[in-house]
C-alpha cells in the first residue's frame, strides 16, 4: 500500500486545462438552449463503434487518462444508451452495424446529441460506401457534431465534445470546470 501511495505522490497531478470548444465542428445546432441546459455539466456519453478500424477507440480511451481527465470535466462514458445524453459514434457504419446503431439511437432518451468521430464517421473515410459499408454516420442517424481526424487526437475529441456542450450552457457555465485562470 505504501509504495502505491508513494507512486501517486511522486506522479502528482498531470491533468491539463481543457482546450476551447471547436465551434466549426458543429454541423447542426438542433437543440434548444433550454433543453440543452438540462444536460448541464454532467454529460454522459455512450460510445458506439459502428465499424471503425479501432484507431478512434484508442484515442477515445486516451480521454480517460490523467492528462485529459474527462471525468474531471463532469463528462463520463456510460454502459447503456438509456443512460446517455450523447452518442459518440466512430467508423464508417458497416451494414452489419446499421440496425444496432439505429436501435442504440432509439434507445437513447431525448434530448440527445450525436457526435460522429473520425474521418470515417464524418465522410466514410478510406472505406467509403460499398456493398458492406454505408459510409458516414449521418447516412444512418442525425449528426450534430462531426470531429475529423484519422484518428482525431484526444484534444480534437475534447474540442468536439465541448462544442456540443457549449451549445448546451449559457456563457457563465461554459468554462466547464477548468480551474480559474488556467483556461486556454
Amino acid at each position: 500500500m505504501l509504495h502505491v501511495l508513494r507512486q501517486i505522490a511522486r506522479t502528482g497531478i498531470k491533468t491539463e486545462p481543457p482546450p476551447s470548444p471547436a465551434e466549426e465542428m458543429v454541423v447542426v445546432a438542433r437543440l434548444q438552449e433550454q433543453i440543452l441546459r438540462t444536460l448541464g455539466r454532467a454529460l454522459t456519453i455512450r460510445q458506439v463503434d459502428a465499424g471503425s478500424c479501432n484507431g478512434c477507440e484508442l484515442e477515445i480511451h486516451a480521454l480517460a487518462n490523467p492528462y485529459y481527465n474527462l471525468e474531471g470535466l463532469g463528462i463520463r462514458f456510460v454502459a447503456s444508451p438509456r443512460h446517455a445524453d450523447v452518442l459518440l459514434v466512430t467508423g464508417p457504419v458497416s451494414k452489419h452495424m446499421a440496425i444496432a446503431l439505429k436501435r442504440t439511437y432509439d434507445a437513447t432518451p431525448d434530448p440527445k446529441l450525436v457526435i460522429a468521430a473520425g474521418d470515417c464517421g464524418c465522410s466514410g473515410g478510406i472505406f467509403g460506401e460499398s456493398y458492406a459499408s454505408l459510409g458516414r454516420v449521418a447516412n444512418v442517424i442525425p449528426v450534430d457534431v462531426a470531429i475529423p481526424g484519422c484518428p482525431p487526437t484526444p484534444t480534437a475529441l475534447l474540442q468536439g465534445i465541448l462544442a456540443a456542450l457549449s451549445k448546451a450552457a449559457p456563457p457563465a457555465e461554459a468554462s466547464l470546470g477548468a480551474p480559474a485562470g488556467t483556461a486556454g
Binding site: 478500424c53 484507431g55 477507440e57 451494414k95 472505406f127 460499398s130 456493398y131
Partner: protein, 514 residues
C-alpha cells in the same frame, strides 16, 4: 515444411521470410496439411480468389508455417460448384476461415458446419463480393439473420447475450454465454459486425497507395500491417527498402508493441479492481504517443511506413527524446511491475484465470504473445533471419502457465525487451536514404509480407494486376486463430472474469472482420 514425401513440385515464393508455394490437388491438400501438422506446422491463413477471368476457376490458398518458414498450398477449383476438403479436423482454426471464403468468394468446403461467418444478411446470400463479376446494388438494405447458436440445455442453465454494442469502449461483436449460476459452461462468438469490405476496397487502389488502407485494417497494429503490405509490394517490384528505413520501421513496430502492452496493462489492472494501474499505465502510454507525434508526426504512427521505406526521418533531437523516454519508461514500469506483482488482490484475479494449457494452445493453433504465454515459442522476429532483427538478437520470451497472469507477465517482459530493442536500434541506426519508392510493377505477380505485430504474426498476401493495380489483397490478423481459443479459455470461469480474460488477449474485431 518438407513436402518431398508427397512428391509435390515446389516453387519459391516472394516473401520476406523463407517461403515456398506448391500447387496441390484436392487429395494432396489434405495430406499436405496432415503432414504439416505432423512436422509441427500450423495454419497461418486460408483465403480464396476468383481466377475465372484467367480461365483458372477459383484458387483456394492455404498458408502454413513451421520452423522452416512458410508454405503456400494452392488448390484450383474448376468452378463455383466444386468443393474442397474440410481442413478443420486438422487445423480447427480453419473452420471460420472456410466459412468466410464461401461468404465472400462462393466456393464451398465439404465441412458439416456451413453456417455463414462474414455474411450477416447485408447482401443476398447467393452474391459473393470478392467475385470479379460482383455488382453491388444500392437496393440491398441491411437485414437480420437468424444465426443458429449452439444452446446448452439443463436445470438452471441460462443464456446471456452481449453485444454487438458493448458496455465499454470496444469494437462491435456478439457473445453468447451459456451459464449456470455465475459459471460459464459455454461461450459462442458471433463476429463480422465490423465487416466493411476491406478486401474489395483494396482492388480499387493502386499498389503504391494501398498502404494507407493496410494501415487501417486494425488501427492498433497499423505499423505491423503497413510494414507487411510494404514488404509485399517491395517483393513484387523486386526492390528493397534502404537499411535506415528498415531500422526505422522496426523502431516504430516496437513502439507500437510497447504502446499496446502499456494500454492493456492499465486495463488489466482496472478490470482486476485496481484503478491505480489504469491511471499510471495510461499516463505512460500518453507520454509515449506524444513523443510519437513529435518524432514521426502521428500518435499511432499511421502512414509512417510506406512502400519503399518510411515517410518520416528521425532527426537527432527526436532520437535523443526517444532514448530519454525509453530509459524513463524502464524505470517507471519496473516500479509498477513490483506493485502489480505484490498486489495480492490483483494476483488472485490473474492466476489460474482463463487458462490455456500448452496442449490446447497447440491443438487450436494459438498464436502470437498469447501462444508464448502458453509455452509455444514462435516469434517471426527470432525464428527467421529478418533485418534488422537478425543483428539485434531478440530475446524470445515465454511463460508456461497460460493464464491471465502469464499473459500479463508476457506483456511486462515483452515491453522491457522492446524497450531494449528500441535503445539498440537508436544506438546503431544506419544513416542514408529513408525511401526508394518502387515503380514498374509486373502484372500477376504474387508476394507475401509477414511481420510479428504486437498481437502475433500479421500477414499480407498481395497480387498485382495490370499497370500497378491491386488484383487481390488478403490481410490476415492473428485474431483469426485466437478468437476461437478465447471461447475455450473462459470455460469454467465465472462471468465477471470474462472482461479480464478477454482483455488479456485483446483481440482485434476489425482485423478479423475486414
Amino acid at each position: 515444411m518438407n513436402v518431398s514425401p508427397l512428391g509435390i513440385a515446389t516453387a519459391p515464393l516472394a516473401c520476406n521470410v523463407p517461403a515456398q508455394r506448391c500447387p496441390v490437388s484436392s487429395g494432396q491438400l489434405i495430406t499436405a496439411c496432415r503432414l504439416a501438422w505432423e512436422q509441427g506446422g500450423q495454419l497461418v491463413a486460408l483465403w480464396g480468389s476468383d481466377e475465372r477471368d484467367r480461365e483458372r476457376g477459383f484458387c483456394l490458398r492455404v498458408l502454413l508455417k513451421d520452423s522452416d518458414g512458410l508454405t503456400l498450398l494452392e488448390h484450383t477449383l474448376p468452378d463455383g460448384g466444386a468443393r474442397y476438403p474440410d481442413l478443420s479436423a486438422i487445423f480447427p482454426a480453419a473452420n471460420r476461415m472456410q466459412r468466410a471464403v464461401f461468404d465472400l468468394v462462393g466456393v464451398q468446403c465439404d465441412a458439416d458446419d456451413q453456417r455463414p461467418w462474414a455474411w450477416q444478411a447485408a447482401w443476398p446470400i447467393d452474391q459473393f463480393p470478392l467475385r470479379r463479376d460482383f455488382v453491388a446494388s444500392p437496393k440491398w438494405e441491411p437485414g437480420e439473420e437468424d444465426y443458429p447458436f449452439v444452446r446448452v440445455a439443463g436445470d438452471g442453465v441460462h443464456e446471456i447475450a452481449v453485444g454487438p454494442v458493448h458496455a465499454g469502449i470496444i469494437e462491435p461483436g456478439h457473445f453468447r454465454f451459456q451459464v449456470v449460476g455465475e459459471k460459464v459452461l459455454r461461450l459462442e462468438e458471433r463476429l463480422g459486425y465490423a465487416h466493411k469490405g476491406i478486401e474489395k476496397r483494396f482492388e480499387a487502389l493502386p499498389l503504391a497507395e494501398g498502404y494507407r488502407l493496410a494501415g487501417r485494417v486494425s488501427g492498433d497494429s497499423t505499423v505491423a500491417y503497413a510494414w507487411a503490405y510494404a514488404q509485399a509490394v517491395e517483393a513484387i517490384a523486386a526492390v528493397a527498402a534502404p537499411p535506415r528505413a528498415v531500422w526505422l520501421r522496426a523502431l516504430c513496430l516496437e513502439r507500437e508493441r510497447v504502446a499496446n502492452h502499456l494500454g492493456d496493462l492499465g486495463y488489466l489492472g482496472n478490470d482486476g479492481g485496481f484503478a491505480f494501474g489504469l491511471a499510471q499505465f495510461s499516463r505512460l502510454k500518453e507520454d509515449l504517443l506524444r513523443v510519437n507525434a513529435k518524432a514521426f508526426g502521428h500518435r499511432l504512427l499511421m502512414d509512417v511506413v510506406i512502400p519503399g521505406g518510411v515517410a518520416h526521418d528521425l532527426d537527432a533531437e527526436a532520437a535523443a527524446a526517444l532514448r530519454a523516454q525509453g530509459a524513463s519508461l524502464v524505470r517507471e514500469i519496473r516500479v509498477l511491475r513490483d506493485i502489480y506483482d505484490e498486489h495480492a488482490g490483483l494476483q488472485d484475479r490473474f492466476r489460474q484465470c482463463g487458462q490455456v494449457t500448452v496442449e490446447l494452445a497447440a491443438k487450436l493453433g494459438l498464436t502470437g504473445f498469447a501462444a508464448r504465454a502458453s509455452a509455444l515459442a514462435d516469434d517471426l522476429r527470432c525464428d527467421f533471419s529478418m533485418p534488422p532483427y537478425d543483428v539485434l538478437a531478440v530475446r524470445k520470451i515465454t511463460q508456461t502457465s497460460g493464464d491471465v497472469a502469464a499473459r500479463v507477465a508476457m506483456r511486462f517482459d515483452e515491453t522491457f525487451e522492446s524497450l531494449r530493442l528500441i535503445e539498440a536500434l537508436l544506438q546503431a541506426m544506419p544513416s542514408g536514404e529513408i525511401a526508394a519508392p518502387p515503380s514498374g510493377f509486373p502484372t500477376f505477380a504474387f508476394a507475401i509480407g509477414a511481420v510479428e505485430g504486437w498481437r502475433g504474426p500479421v500477414i499480407v498476401a498481395l497480387e498485382s494486376g495490370p499497370d500497378g493495380t491491386i488484383r487481390r489483397c488478403h490481410p490476415h490478423d492473428p485474431s483469426w486463430q485466437n478468437w476461437p481459443v478465447l471461447e475455450h479459455a473462459v470455460i469454467g470461469n465465472i462471468v465477471p472474469d470474462f472482461p479480464l480474460i478477454n482483455k488479456s488477449f485483446n483481440l482485434s474485431y476489425s482485423g478479423h472482420d475486414l
